[in-house]
């Protein structure tokens, strides 16, 4: 870590001043409120301050400290790069948020990602996941992907229910999530309710006026907006199911190009007014001819959707056990901001709560956070199908959530085989030498700037790059590892001193790459 520069020291002392003003003001206030309490006041203040802070959406109101900047980036990005950190340093949090919450997605990445799909009308299953992974790995603004993936976990549609003729719905679904992730929540909900992949996944295409199907209606409240048994009845599920009717799938034979040629079946979902139940429905005590948008509007107006979404956002970005007061506050923020994600997220990421001690307690990384993060930080991009395959084994493959409830969280990801598999994945990335050479990918990210070019300098650079907190003895082993060569000796291994040579490409391709594999399996790389 670089020694503190003058600017930061200055601003931090400014913060100190502000904080002591605040404390003095509070003391005066407390003294005014009840002189007889004596020194109970400040004592009580000390006990309450942290809990107030960790539930408060009030702006933190001072420049972030280094640890807080890292915390912010760890939670909002997949894999923190030195460039991200430098950018945040340069811009400050507010300007960085402006960029992060509104950055345009570069067309060049879309073009390259889209090229992975041979024919977008009949995409193959692995092309769809690779398309999104290309975005995740290469985008300059990972937050859009992080948030789109949050919504993917929320509206957890899997392409396993799709076949050759309608698998292209999943491409539209992913594009919908990515496009609307940072927009208006109600708009997103309305779009998802008529999204072809969702209509197939939760049986909307078979739900008609004559035979409404309750699958989507149930999950709409249970999993997407309110939580199980929170404010709706079985009768209301049946009423809402009628409101969501009106869609069907039609299949056409169309001209196909390429190897398969000829004519192929292609499906699309259409709205057919004859299938929609336009009658009166009674939901939440209101009687009207609700349609799909109507149920969304009604739910957002009559029930506390804000708290439900807030709790989920907080568990993903802040802590596994968000205090109720914070859930309520963020829930209200949704309403106050007209269900716009950008201002809500801005409030969250600038809040006292986000930087409280409790919020900075480590969370476990999910496989995608671990794997995509590793690739982004180190630059050691494997072929995307390798990444896709690893995520399948690790259980968090995009476009394949295990159920409509989405993926498990936290410790559910931990198992002996799973931790070894993460090691195998980083090994596959670090040892894909030939394929990376062909694509012009090298170990540059792994090396410190010229000034810090010593063996301990490399290790400390990598510790910072991967945000590790190794035991001192382990760090010493890593330094040692770069300075020896290994030979077999009987059944054991013999070490011979062999100083690390910067000019020797073999040292870079062997020792350095192997060291990264070792380091990325340190327990501290599993947390964020």
């Amino acid at each position: 870590m670089s020694p503190g520069n003058g600017r930061r020291t200055l601003s931090e002392s400014g913060v100190m001043r502000m904080r002591s003003y605040w404390a003095t003001g509070l003391l005066i206030l407390l003294a005014a409120c009840g002189g007889d309490k004596g020194d109970a006041g400040p004592h009580k203040d000390a006990a309450q301050a942290p809990s107030l802070r960790e539930s408060s959406l009030a702006p933190i109101g001072r420049p972030l400290r280094m640890a807080e900047k890292r915390h912010f980036l760890r939670r909002t990005h997949w894999g923190v790069t030195p460039e991200d950190l430098a950018e945040l340093d340069k811009l400050g949090l507010d300007a960085y948020l402006d960029w992060m919450l509104s950055a345009k997605a570069p067309q060049g990445i879309e073009d390259r990602a889209a090229r992975l799909i041979v024919d977008p009308r009949w995409p193959r299953p692995e092309e769809l996941s690779a398309y999104w992974l290309a975005w995740m790995v290469r985008t300059p603004n990972p937050f859009r992907e992080v948030l789109a993936f949050f919504w993917h976990d929320h509206f957890a549609v899997s392409q396993v229910v799709l076949g050759e003729r309608n698998r292209h719905y999943m491409l539209e679904h992913v594009r919908l999530l990515r496009r609307e992730a940072l927009g208006n929540v109600k708009k997103l909900f309305k779009a998802v309710a008529r999204d072809p992949a969702m209509l197939v996944f939760l049986d909307g295409i078979r739900s008609t006026k004559d035979a409404p199907n309750e699958n989507f209606a149930r999950e709409f409240w249970e999993l997407f907006s309110l939580g199980v048994d929170r404010g709706y009845t079985q009768k209301e599920i049946e009423e809402a199911a009628r409101a969501f009717t009106g869609y069907k799938e039609v299949v056409e034979e169309v001209e196909a190009k390429g190897a398969k040629g000829g004519r192929r079946a292609l499906a699309r979902v259409v709205y057919d007014p004859a299938l929609h139940d336009g009658g009166l429905k009674e939901i939440f005590g209101k009687k009207a001819a609700f349609d799909s948008d109507g149920v969304v509007e009604l739910t957002f107006a009559e029930r506390d959707v804000g708290s439900f979404l807030a709790a989920k956002l907080l568990r993903r970005f802040v802590r596994s056990d968000p205090p109720q007061a914070l859930v309520k506050a963020l829930g209200r923020a949704f309403v106050e901001e007209g269900w716009e994600m950008r201002p809500v997220l801005r409030r969250l990421f600038r809040s006292e709560a986000f930087y409280s001690e409790a919020a900075q307690r480590p969370l476990l990384k999910s496989p995608i956070e671990y794997a995509v993060g590793f690739v982004r930080s180190t630059g050691l991009e494997p072929p995307l199908l390798v990444l896709d395959g690893a995520l399948e084994v690790l259980g968090e493959r995009p476009t394949f959530p295990p159920s409509v409830k989405g993926w498990p969280r936290g410790r559910a990801w931990l198992s002996p085989q799973a931790v070894l598999e993460r090691g195998k994945f980083v090994n596959a990335c670090a040892t894909a030498r030939a394929s990376q050479r062909d694509r012009g990918i090298g170990v540059t990210n792994l090396l410190p700037s010229r000034r810090a070019r010593s063996v301990p300098g490399i290790v400390d650079h990598l510790i910072e790059l991967l945000e590790l907190s190794p035991q001192p003895a382990v760090r010493a082993e890593w330094v040692h590892f770069l300075s020896v060569s290994l030979q077999p000796k009987g059944v054991g291994i013999q070490e011979t001193p062999d100083p690390f040579d910067w000019a020797d490409p073999r040292h870079l391709d062997e020792r350095l790459r192997n060291l990264v594999v070792w380091m990325a399996q340190d327990p501290s790389y599993f947390i964020k």
């Binding site: 049986d203 249970e222 410790r411 085989q417 070894l420 192997n514």
Partner: protein, 418 residues
């Protein structure tokens, strides 16, 4: 290896920090103790996730109401199997996909426990599944501890005694002192190796293993990771070697379930001390296009039938069938009537299948009657927790009290084991 670490301290972590001296002797094969499985019985649980339709798995053709309530999603007599038990025809038929299981049924190795469930049924998959995972009538406030975690803490001190296959760490396994041994058949168990430099990989592996054993961390996410890594690194080589000894002529289906059960057999047949296997197959939530004798449910049931058949034959070939008991569960049954999308919606009571040589064969429990089909859903008559408790007590010979503390002593409302 770390010279400062003696066997006792080592065991200490393997057992989640509390060293119990009442363990089986740990002679022989290495760090985690003996791999001789001995001759203990074991239990295999297969969860059909999504809510399997019991009524079409075992159609009650003797009740005309079955057909009336499901005009589009029922099976007819010509489509069903009608296995006999002795000379008596079974009261319900078998779905034609369950041909191998029908043979087991005729051979006296299968029981179907009818109307299994729990009070105040919940129609949410996820709530219902959590109720099954927790196995308690009154969910405690705060941190939840699944029934398998309680079983491990009370009775199964070696983490390898419980094998979870392809499930991730479901609630069943969470909250205990130990790290459950969860594996996947999508990949081989092993450590990362740089194929260009296997020696270097070995060097790194040895250091990682030793470093993890030295590591002492305060409770929190980091120590959770380290605890799982310690078990992984300490057991991986031995596990790999042991599994490599598996030899079998049985060909399993290529399906995920077939491969998961094959992996279970590899553990069981090579002498791991496995006492409980938990695995699952999803996709049973047939709100639409469920099919009848053919179709989506039929395909899944065929997979279950053939995968279980291969697994049981494999156990038999290895002389293990006598020690096995298989329970096939599902979080709920489905609605008594079909729904107009040619499917069925979430229901309540359901059948629980039991397979093994020690079962009391047949359709057990109160037979389905017309009044059962008159309501929305099948009622429940037998609590699933009592089925689990009975399996623990009568098959694993373990005291169910610490695992299912709310179940009355010797609650054998429905003895399904001989």
């Amino acid at each position: 290896m770390n010279p400062g670490m003696d066997r006792r301290a080592f065991l200490g972590w393997a057992l989640g920090g509390s060293l119990s001296l009442s363990l089986r002797p740990l002679a022989g094969l290495g760090s985690l103790g003996s791999l001789s499985g001995g001759d203990s019985n074991f239990l295999v649980i297969l969860n059909l996730a999504g809510g399997n339709d019991g009524l079409n798995s075992f159609p009650p053709l003797h009740l005309p109401l079955y057909r009336e309530r499901r005009p589009r999603v029922h099976l007819g007599p010509e489509e069903c199997l009608a296995p006999k038990l002795g000379t008596k025809p079974a009261p319900r038929r078998f779905h034609p996909s369950l041909a191998q299981l029908a043979r087991r049924f005729e051979a006296g190795q299968m029981a179907i426990l009818q109307k299994v469930g729990y009070p105040k049924p919940n129609l949410s998959h996820f709530v219902s599944e959590d109720i099954w995972s927790l196995g308690l009538r009154h969910a405690p406030k705060g941190k939840k501890k699944g029934w398998i975690a309680r079983l491990m803490d009370a009775h199964l001190p070696d983490p390898r005694m419980v094998l979870g296959i392809g499930t991730g760490q479901k609630l069943d396994f969470q909250g205990g002192r130990q790290v459950p041994f969860l594996v996947s058949s999508k990949t081989e168990i092993g450590v990362p190796t740089d194929t260009l430099h296997p020696l270097v990989s070995r060097y790194i592996f040895e250091h990682q293993k030793a470093d993890l054993q030295r590591l002492r961390l305060p409770p929190g996410a980091l120590s959770e990771v380290a605890k799982v890594q310690k078990l992984a690194f300490a057991s991986v080589e031995e596990t790999r070697k042991q599994l490599a000894r598996y030899v079998s002529n049985v060909v399993y289906p290529k399906s995920r379930l077939g491969q998961d059960l094959r992996l279970a057999a590899r553990f069981l047949c090579t002498g791991f001390p496995t006492r409980l296997v938990y695995t699952q197959l999803g996709g049973f939530d047939h709100h639409r296009d469920q099919g009848r004798h053919q179709g989506r449910q039929a395909d899944l049931l065929r997979d279950v039938d053939q995968s279980l058949h291969a697994f049981l034959r494999d156990l038999e070939a290895h002389g293990l069938l006598d020690r096995a008991l298989v329970l096939v569960v599902s979080e709920f049954g489905r609605r008594n009537y079909d729904n107009g999308s040619l499917g069925t919606d979430h229901g309540e009571g359901n059948d629980l299948w039991v397979l093994g040589k020690s079962v009391r064969p047949g359709f057990l429990g109160p037979d389905l009657e017309t009044k059962d089909l008159q309501g929305e859903n099948l009622p429940y008559a037998l609590d699933f927790r009592r089925v689990y408790a009975q399996a623990l007590q009568r098959h694993l010979h373990l005291d169910p009290k610490p695992v299912f503390p709310e179940e009355p002593e010797a609650a054998l409302d429905l003895p399904f084991l001989r």
